[in-house]
Subunit: 315 residues, 3 copies
């Protein structure tokens, strides 16, 4: 009897004082670290739910770059516990006809932002559970809704309401997975010319992350210790495929598996991106050394791969 009363007390207190683990909203935008926008959306969130925990993943994905943001988002989101709410905004078409959406993935994570492909990698990695279009005006920020700052007026209020326990079904009409805009990428695959893929992310060290997973490298029979050759931006470069950056001398190019198990081009204590003048979206072919005519001699296969359109649905 005393135990039952205690339990009721404890639960009541937990609710009353908001003392259980707080909900978390993790922010990812291209709003920059130097402008008022990232601060403004934090203010909107706190005004709606003063108990929530706000974390900043980054506000500096390259401006307007939905493709790169999608990779950065999934890479960070992967490490978070279930029920985390991700508020992600890279939204060049703000105020236009693109939808505002909430997506729940199979691992119980929630993603709030524009329907422009930004959640492509999250949905492919975590699995689609359900989605809604945010159309209920009661979910918006109070006052006028601008045509230029939906992060503040639509997305942040929606994330805050979710964090305060509102059900996403209340935000608007259900969407099917096929209704959502998804990015397409150059598939990572083993071909006669080698393994094809694309650069997903150029990080601030200048490391170039590809979408080529360890499994395809294993299928090709390539192991750490081998010298490989890659074709990128009409350059053919030889580099050691190694366990870690420091397996080569300072300044040398190296191929490693990054923290996601994806092939990454790096220079040890240097910048691969700078010297290769490469960036996210560039196509790449990786092959064993000398396995193909140099691309500069206009090898038809390799150039065909390089000029292949990177995406069919979103530029």
């Amino acid at each position: 009897m005393i135990r039952r009363i205690s339990l009721i007390w404890f639960s009541a207190l937990a609710v009353f004082f908001g003392c259980s683990s707080p909900s978390t909203i993790a922010l990812l935008t291209d709003y920059g670290w130097d402008d008022p926008y990232a601060g403004a959306i934090q203010g909107v969130i706190l005004s709606i739910n003063p108990e929530v925990r706000i974390l900043n993943l980054t506000h500096a994905v390259p401006s307007y770059n939905i493709r790169e943001a999608s990779y950065v988002l999934v890479t960070a989101a992967k490490e978070f516990p279930e029920k985390t709410i991700f508020l992600a905004v890279v939204d060049p078409e703000v105020g236009g006809s693109r939808k505002a959406i909430i997506v729940e993935t199979l691992d119980q994570k929630l993603f709030v932002g524009p329907d422009n492909g930004l959640f492509t990698d999250a949905i492919r990695t975590f699995g689609f559970k359900r989605a809604v279009s945010i159309t209920n005006v009661l979910w918006f920020r109070k006052g006028d809704i601008s045509s230029t700052f939906h992060g503040r007026d639509v997305f942040a209020p929606a994330a805050a309401r979710l964090s305060a326990g509102k059900n996403m079904d209340d935000a608007g009409a259900k969407l099917l997975e096929k209704d959502l805009v998804m990015l397409e990428r150059t598939p990572a695959e083993l071909t006669e010319q080698g393994i094809t893929g694309e650069i997903l992310h150029r990080d601030h060290y200048g490391n170039l992350v590809t979408n080529i997973p360890a499994s395809i490298l294993a299928k090709a029979g390539w192991r750490a210790g081998m010298a490989l050759e890659f074709v990128l931006k009409y350059q053919v470069v030889t580099a050691k495929f190694a366990q870690k950056y420091s397996d080569v001398a300072k300044g040398e190019m190296v191929l490693v598996l990054n923290g996601q198990g994806l092939l990454e081009l790096a220079r040890f204590v240097g910048s691969a991106g700078d010297s290769l003048r490469a960036m996210a979206g560039d196509s790449i072919v990786v092959r064993t050394v000398g396995s193909t005519e140099p691309v500069t001699n206009s090898s038809p296969a390799a150039t065909a791969t390089l000029s292949k359109p990177v995406s069919n649905r979103v530029k």
Copy 2:
């Protein structure tokens, strides 16, 4: 009876465990994201009030730029709930004779920082309630007070003490609104030459925010859809006045109302600031297309406006 006891218990517990919504201190400085200074002030705050919530608005307003910081601060602060404490430091004259102040605005927000004009836009937007000069040494950081880092030694401790429930009147002598340093700006007004104003902020996209509000554009009878012309840095540029960025083609110049209802110059998926070589503080004239002789033909009215000093009291 049992209810009364419960209530007392609940209140006692809330105080004892610090479980009610925490106070929030929001930081805005030019201390940079790469240096120890922003971290140091967070440490000072936590040492005084371990319960407070610390949020970073930005630490990257342009170095020493009080004018731009004032706009960035008010734009973010506007979205925060009452009782939020803003610790803002852009302080080139640190250690000199400028006062250290706390300002309370009519919407119950508190601003802590140097008296150099940094709170101009906050006071004009939210309304002045009261202010004090921070002179009580018990409010300072323990130990020696440097002449070069008042963010750590004076402002952060004051913000932390406010967050812990101290009354601002205890910090030092009362100040009147007229005692405070205020910035002056080129007034946004409808003149014979068009609408005059100034650039308040160049954001990281390269968007140029002016101080020209929607109301003056409405007064001039200019509506979204019209082509307008602006004179900025001796350049005359024509651009569509539109609802949203994506109303023009990629790379084209566009005029929109930003999230504050202020006229903003942008390039859709591009940088207006880069191509116009313009920045905060520059004067601007906006007019209908062809309404005036081009400024490059030395139109006296327009050039007079452009060379008008931007501020009388603070450079």
Copy 3:
């Protein structure tokens, strides 16, 4: 009796609801503010301890620069309360033979990161209490451990477990202070040529912080108001030794004591680092004006000092 029961209740509730002041993990890395890495380690921490407070000191110490990171870390860490856990990662040799360590200092702070000299200044400033090597696999992140991202796989989980109350002795074998990698610096000392030292940090204003403390300047009898001369990167520059930046005209070079009581070279509202093309690690000699032949006339003493190796153990 009632009092005793209340006390037990209170303690039980505090533990149950996690309502006492949360543990704090403060992050310092070279992971950048624009990449997924800083977000990922926050996710790992929250997955292990959902109650912890996470603060970001900086993620933008210069890439791979252990020397500069060591100074930035100690400067921020100094201001934090005891029991704060610092998770610091600048780790070019990730995946190699360098140890992963936890260091406790005499002021009850905990430092988690690679054993590569990163904690040199913290240990020298706060005093060494004890250290362990993180080798217990139960302390690692679940799943495969990468060779390229120990911040996520080793250091963040260790910091999170410490924050959740685990004892550092459980993480691995004890290390002695002499087992740890420590940086060496050009000693700050009064010599016949003047005071020698090195640049510890170039901040984002372009201020150059030296390791020359106020005490050595006092020993030399140099006081604010004097004109001094410094030799840096083969340049001889005269500057006023002043109380504060604004003691000289805008754009002029000035020597001040920074917030740590260390000599700092600055330009008032300008960048000393830009004009001197100097950075962390550069040696410096400070002397009274005209006290020595100019270094450009190949004064042997001064050039000897300038070419002296900056570190014997870590490049």
